[in-house]
């Protein structure tokens, strides 16, 4: 979820004189139209929530499907010959990797990680990798880390394979691309939570379901970037290859694929990061490993234990991210002296030696005496925080007081207002907003998605979730723009911020939940708070990039005209960074929704709660309807905030 920003650059909006005047015209037209419809609607349709006559009750049929699956799972050929094998294949391969990792022992795995990082990304990252793995071991999390790693390896391989096949098809065939692209774009913005229910329905709780959910979640960026990379291959090079008489296969393997290496590696990077974040969330459906430790710790309000499992996740994320990113940066650089093959041979030999030495000297398991327990000190610190910051702090009030005020003054009015609005007015509002920012097509999608929510009979909970999203987005944007602008104007602030943002962007969403509960109590306010913390880094980053991306010549010319710093910001930077800011809004909305939904675990209620409830009670009808509503809400929010993208002329 976190990495999507860099992959979706927004083209600048039309700024020419006539276009602008047309746009102004359009706004007036839109508002007039909306007003007319408002009057018509209130006369003809009347007030109220989504009418019951327009809903479809899916509980019955979905419940039947769920029952049918459970009753026939042991006998039906579809399961015996397809899903069963799929599930067994997953179990078998995860187990294989897990056994290899255990056999290599902590020394072997750490050495392998360090040496691979050294070959791919250089010495500094090699050190980082080694330290990261050792910290995982010191925290007593070696075995869960290996479980998560084994699951990740299989999930990433499958995602990359699936993504590459889809991407290849879409990259080489216009028709496939036209069909696939909107699907992939949409999957990219879906909250992770929504993916869990369908796989559980088929596979039941366990590792196969977790791996498959992860694959479905992590394959789209690979497919998307593969397709884009293949399609964007330098036409001149491709023509040169053709002019030399290359066959289709030769053109693909010697030119088109190598030319897309940067995109392929970026795809790999995003896939790995998304797989990791999903592997953690999938602990809810039995993924095991580090995510499960976090989940178990959350169940007993044990922030320390949650952190002990959360830190390895973050370290794993940082190492994987940096190494794959560094591999991308190194492309096109001069080949290093010395044979690459020799280097890899050294790396492989080093791994084997480390594993064997450690095995003969000690056992393959991490020695018990070398672990450090951070649980207690962390819990003491958290306890102190709750004791002293929760309420009754003079002047500013405690965090619980803030949460209460936020709920009463912001969340409640927004929710009440949304639920008070007649259903058709909500649709109208969405249509107008979508038209103001996007196109007819985005408007249509958004309105249809919202209407579908009504048809599913989850109108009120959806509006409740929506109110939390809106409040969360508002806070995120205010804070994010402020910090982002500050960072773009001071390189020192940016330097300070960068590592913080990096870490925050790779943190599992789960870990945010417990401290916010400790600080803000239970309810919608902490859910929104967790969402804000989660979405903030992306918004800050996009804002900073957008502001820094403003043409320095323009800045210089405005300075030469004697503009003050503030004038520059207001008159030059902000307007020019508009596309980036719109993208930040879009990303903010998508990320806030993802966590607000998970907020169902801490009293966020509404759709997220229904999804959790569906999982927890095995009531898949409720869960699936809620999941579908989450998807639709995500679709609607994404489309409403999606700035018009000018498509490039060539190709599709």
């Amino acid at each position: 979820m976190t990495a999507t920003a860099s992959a979706t650059p927004a083209a600048p909006l039309g700024t020419a004189g006539p276009a602008a005047s047309l746009a102004r015209h359009r706004t007036t037209l839109l508002l007039t139209g909306a007003a007319v419809l408002l009057v018509l609607g209130s006369v003809l349709v009347g007030h109220g929530a989504w009418p019951a006559s327009l809903t479809v009750d899916l509980d019955g049929p979905l419940g039947d499907v769920s029952d049918w699956i459970i009753d026939n799972r042991d006998t039906h050929p579809l399961f015996l010959y397809f899903f069963g094998h799929l599930s067994n294949a997953v179990v078998l391969s995860v187990r294989g990797v897990y056994l290899v990792l255990l056999a290599a022992g902590w020394a072997g795995v750490t050495a392998a990680a360090g040496l691979i990082a050294w070959r791919v990304a250089g010495l500094r990252l090699a050190v980082t990798a080694v330290v990261a793995f050792l910290v995982c071991a010191v925290l007593g999390m070696w075995v869960p880390t290996m479980q998560t790693l084994a699951l990740m390896v299989i999930a990433v391989l499958a995602s990359v394979g699936l993504g590459a096949v889809l991407g290849l098809a879409a990259g080489l065939s216009d028709r496939v691309f036209r069909v696939l692209r909107p699907v992939l774009d949409t999957m990219q913005v879906m909250p992770a939570f929504a993916y869990l229910l369908p796989v559980v329905l088929v596979f039941g709780i366990g590792v196969p379901a977790a791996v498959l959910a992860t694959v479905v979640y992590a394959a789209p960026p690979m497919a998307r970037l593969t397709a884009l990379g293949l399609r964007d291959a330098d036409a001149g090079v491709m023509e040169a290859a053709a002019s030399l008489g290359a066959t289709g296969r030769q053109r693909l393997f010697t030119a088109r694929l190598p030319l897309a290496r940067r995109e392929l590696l970026l795809g790999l990077n995003q896939t790995i990061m998304m797989a990791l974040s999903m592997a953690v969330i999938a602990s809810v459906i039995g993924a095991g490993g580090l995510g499960d430790r976090v989940y178990q710790a959350l169940a007993s309000v044990d922030v320390g234990a949650a952190l002990a499992a959360g830190i390895p996740i973050v370290l794993l994320a940082v190492v994987l991210d940096r190494v794959t990113a560094a591999a991308g940066h190194r492309l096109g650089a001069a080949p290093r002296p010395g044979s690459a093959r020799l280097g890899w041979a050294v790396a492989a030999a080093g791994t084997v030696v480390a594993a064997v030495v450690a095995r003969t000297v000690a056992s393959t398991g991490w020695p018990d005496g070398w672990t450090a327990d951070i649980t207690r000190p962390v819990n003491t610190a958290v306890g102190w925080m709750t004791d002293h910051l929760y309420s009754g702090v003079p002047v500013v009030g405690g965090t619980a007081d803030w949460a209460g005020r936020f709920t009463t003054w912001v969340l409640d009015p927004v929710r009440d207002a949304l639920q008070w609005l007649p259903w058709w007015a909500v649709l109208l509002l969405i249509a107008v907003l979508a038209l103001l920012i996007g196109t007819w097509r985005t408007m249509l999608t958004a309105v249809l998605a919202m209407a579908a929510i009504g048809v599913l009979d989850v109108w009120d909970p959806a509006l409740d979730t929506l109110s939390q999203v809106l409040a969360g987005v508002a806070v995120t944007l205010v804070a994010g723009f402020a910090v982002g602008i500050a960072a773009s104007r001071s390189s020192r602030v940016e330097a300070l911020l960068r590592p913080v943002l990096d870490v925050f962007q790779t943190m599992p969403q789960f870990v945010y939940l417990i401290p916010v509960v400790a600080l803000f109590g239970v309810g919608r306010a902490p859910a929104v708070a967790a969402a804000v913390i989660y979405a903030l880094p992306a918004v800050v980053r996009i804002t900073t990039q957008g502001m820094n991306g403003v043409d320095p010549v323009t800045m210089e010319s405005s300075r030469s005209l004697g503009a003050t710093g503030f004038q520059q910001l207001l008159k030059v930077q902000l307007p020019l960074a508009r596309p980036a800011l719109l993208l930040a809004v879009n990303q903010g909305v998508v990320l806030v929704l993802a966590v607000v939904v998970i907020g169902g675990l801490v009293g966020g209620g509404s759709l997220g709660y229904s999804a959790v409830f569906g999982l927890a009670q095995g009531d898949l009808a409720t869960g699936l309807v809620a999941g579908a509503a989450i998807v639709l809400l995500g679709l609607m929010l994404d489309r409403v905030t999606q700035p018009t993208r000018r498509r490039s002329g060539k190709g599709a």
Partner: protein
């Protein structure tokens, strides 16, 4: 005259882009429309219109025109990188348009190689492997192709840069790699698509001289596309001048400059230093008896500027001599007439 055999022979070639493009070439009425009208009527653009020419073995055949004149499309039609809409293309008497995919690949692999304006190099490969790329596609073994490539690299003056990546080279060096890649497969014809227009003027001149040198040494047939008249005049044995998809004049540089076919060409060549293009064969007048024995001797294809130098140096009328026979003479008046662009002087004498 003993004409060498034709390498390429092009007849009635059309390339029309757009919906239902193939109805345009056959339709006399549509074919007569200009670009804007055609577009309005059919939504089509005719990049190449009814073009016919021959490329002789061993010559440098230049196609010249401004951007949008259809010259780049034309050269791509020769090896069907762009599929022609209608017409006939033969190479060494073999119908190119009738070739199946395999035969066409053979043509591209062994008989005609192309050098591109934007080089089209593979950024992830070293210079050596880029040059060897064509051989790799032919299926040649690694050691052999690298050896061959190394030889070609030396020929184009890139020694010592074999392991660099294209991104680390200057534009001129990159185009040398492109040239070497085309040469490495030892093709019968080299096709150049505006190869030097992305380069700095000084480097461009070096590269042009490189081409001249290669042609002199190997005598390979070349088809050269350019929008630069000076480049065309400098390199071309014959020049086809294109405008709006048609060839408006085809001839030697001297014919183009000396006798433009229409106002467009005349306008085009107005600023050309004629004395460097026109030969004394075209500038001379019949000699009288005294003149035919004294004065500096010049070959008939010496340029007027060379004649001027000889005349100025000796102060005498220069003789045009071929095989010991005096064909005619050039004096001050003849030569100045060429420089001034007034052909009447010659006829007046």
């Amino acid at each position: 005259m003993n004409t060498p055999p034709h390498v390429f022979s092009v007849r009635d070639l059309w390339k029309v882009f757009g919906p239902k493009a193939d109805r345009v070439p056959g339709d006399a009425e549509l074919g007569a429309l200009d670009a804007a009208e055609l577009r309005a009527r059919t939504g089509c653009t005719a990049a190449v219109r009814d073009v016919s020419f021959d490329v002789r073995k061993g010559e440098v055949f230049v196609v010249m025109g401004l951007s949008g004149s259809g010259k780049s499309t034309l050269v791509r039609c020769l090896t069907r990188l762009i599929e022609p809409t209608s017409g006939e293309v033969t190479m060494d008497g073999e119908d190119v348009l009738a070739m199946n995919a395999g035969r066409l690949r053979e043509l591209r692999r062994h008989r005609a190689s192309m050098v591109f304006q934007h080089f089209g190099l593979l950024p992830h490969r070293s210079v050596l492997d880029n040059v060897a790329y064509g051989l790799e596609i032919q299926g040649m073994g690694r050691a052999e192709r690298r050896e061959r490539a190394a030889g070609v690299i030396a020929k184009v003056g890139l020694d010592g840069l074999e392991s660099r990546r294209p991104g680390q080279l200057s534009g001129g060096q990159q185009q040398r790699v492109g040239l070497a890649r085309a040469l490495a497969v030892d093709p019968e014809v080299l096709l150049f698509d505006e190869p030097f227009s992305a380069l700095d003027p000084l480097i461009r001149r070096d590269m042009q001289e490189e081409v001249v040198r290669l042609h002199r040494e190997e005598g390979r047939t070349m088809v050269f596309i350019t929008h630069d008249l000076n480049e065309a005049l400098k390199l071309g044995d014959r020049i086809a001048l294109m405008r709006d998809g048609r060839i408006v004049q085809l001839g030697t540089p001297e014919e183009i400059v000396g006798s433009p076919a229409d106002d467009y060409v005349r306008d085009f060549v107005r600023d050309v230093p004629r004395e460097q293009v026109v030969t004394v064969r075209a500038a001379m007048r019949p000699a009288d008896s005294a003149e035919s024995v004294s004065g500096p001797a010049l070959a008939p294809d010496a340029t007027v500027s060379e004649a001027i130098e000889a005349v100025v140096r000796t102060g005498e009328t220069a003789r045009v001599v071929e095989g010991g026979r005096c064909l005619g003479v050039v004096d001050h008046a003849c030569l100045l007439g060429v420089v001034a662009g007034v052909p009447a002087v010659k006829e007046a004498v």
